[in-house]
Symmetry: C2
């Protein structure tokens, strides 16, 4: 059992997967439901301190949770931040920059920090990011609403974050002064941008039948939608929107496809819906990459006229 | 700067202490406010695995957060649980027992587990317990409402949890088959019981002007109330309710006082209010231990007719 399976199993077994969605949906008042999400982010598992800056880490901690709210079509309202800090990081410069990053992104989306906790840890920095949002009652976009014939869409070019991760692993580091393709892709890995505006628009206009954010990777995330919806899906490799700079990092189209199909953490939205309506809505940066089929659990990829099964190879951690 | 100061400072500096109370209070609907609390609990900092059982640890993770809801006079509704699990604990027996403990206590208070996250850690078990509750609009009992002349009350005998911690440090271990005083005090440390019923009653009957739960220790927690309320307090040492078995562990009355005044984690409620009204309410297990004064920030302890300053020596971690 690998880590991915382990985590999936315990979430399912112990009820953390109650709704099986990016957020829990609870009744709030007569008009709205409450959306809740928590993301635990651990040093040396989800990030390395020498790969990022404290400020980017603060931003990323909030961004991954905002992305969960976006994936339900919701609006974000408050955040809590629990951190465990090892003694060697008890220095104002580090924590100032970390919270500054969090608050910078929070200000963009009008998120208030309302609480959280602080503990000591023995040696690693640990973050639990908790975000609450709202969505009109009964209108949260779930993973379970995809129907045969729906188109499959993504909200932007893919593969950049995975390519950035590859560069970090190879020893490259983020250079704030550089705007070369490598640095931009590293920044995509270190500072994902949540698609809150688009998620909300899709919800308000009733355009998405199901939605998820691309955290694990397309191949895994489309499988989540198909499992929840009782459908299959067919992805057209030729329609995949590659990150503009991806060819600079990937040596071949095969590798570009590998990064876009299986590399996660782009935090774009993956959604399904009526293809004509979505095309007619004039949404910018939305790409149709496939269609929902009535073949439950079967995810296919079509490339150069041949069809193969697409294994769920996405992952969350490096 | 010690750890206690460090944590206090960063909570204040970065806005985690926004409301400065046990829970954040947010508007929910026309009738109720939403209460939110998060507690991060770290192996080797807040607990040791060989001191407890996975089941007791699961219970305790929820109990400390329920106690925060109790301290606001609220009702609990949902919980989230984020855990970071090192690879050597990826075994169903451990996690089954941990979640069983959580769910046992949750069932007692009708708390639903609605979400959370699971991550890997490098070597230590980390828990972030998040709990949401409700309280009638504007009725949350804050730390800031104490007034000169109010009595100071606690909801039960103190010192048991601190004595249990002392025994654990000395090498004793929890024995579920034993009912001797030592085992009972260790159990008080390992399985605190949140005072939700009493907290809610105090709120409904309008009896408490301020409230906090005893997590840091009486000397620190009364200081929190005085700081928030702009008052002082006078504690009567002779009125302190000692845990029934405390003398078995403490060698002297001095040591018993040390444990009850400064040892934390009893998770009883500390509250203030009109002494006559509270006495007349016939609450069981409620002890009047002092009074609020108009001497801002000055906490005194009266013993044998002499009055001394009471330093805030409480702590949270071992």
């Amino acid at each position: 059992m690998n880590e991915f399976e382990f985590i999936k199993n315990i979430k399912k077994k112990y009820g953390l997967d109650l709704v099986g969605d990016d957020c829990a949906v609870l009744p709030k008042d007569n008009e709205n439901d409450l959306l809740l999400t928590a993301d635990m982010i651990v040093e040396e598992i989800d990030f390395k301190l020498d790969w990022t800056t404290p400020q980017l880490l603060g931003q990323r901690s909030l961004a991954v949770s905002l992305s969960d709210i976006a994936a339900m079509g919701g609006d974000v309202t408050w955040g809590m931040l629990s951190i465990g800090v090892p003694e060697h990081l008890w220095e104002p410069r580090f924590l100032d920059a970390f919270y500054e990053g969090w608050h910078d992104l929070a200000a963009m989306y009008e998120v208030d920090l309302v609480g959280g906790d602080v503990s000591r840890t023995t040696n690693r920095f640990v973050i639990d990011s908790i975000v609450g949002g709202i969505v009109p009652k009964g209108k949260a976009i779930l993973r379970s609403g995809a129907r045969c014939g729906d188109g499959v869409f993504v909200s932007g070019p893919l593969g950049g974050a995975a390519a950035g991760l590859k560069l970090l692993k190879e020893g490259m580091r983020y250079d704030p002064k550089s705007s070369d393709p490598q640095s931009l892709m590293i920044l995509k890995q270190l500072r994902p941008l949540p698609q809150l505006r688009l998620g909300k628009q899709l919800q308000e206009d009733g355009l998405a039948t199901s939605m998820i954010d691309l955290s694990d990777g397309l191949s895994s995330d489309i499988a989540h939608i198909c499992r929840a919806s009782g459908t299959g899906a067919r992805i057209f490799a030729e329609e995949m929107p590659f990150d503009a700079d991806l060819l600079e990092v990937a040596g071949s189209v095969d590798e570009m496809l590998e990064l876009t199909l299986h590399g996660g953490e782009d935090f774009e939205l993956l959604f399904t819906g009526n293809s004509e309506k979505i095309s007619a809505a004039g949404l910018s940066d939305v790409f149709r990459i496939g269609e929902i089929t009535d073949n439950p659990g079967v995810i296919e990829v079509v490339r150069g006229g041949t069809t193969e099964l697409l294994p769920a190879k996405g992952y969350r951690h490096f």
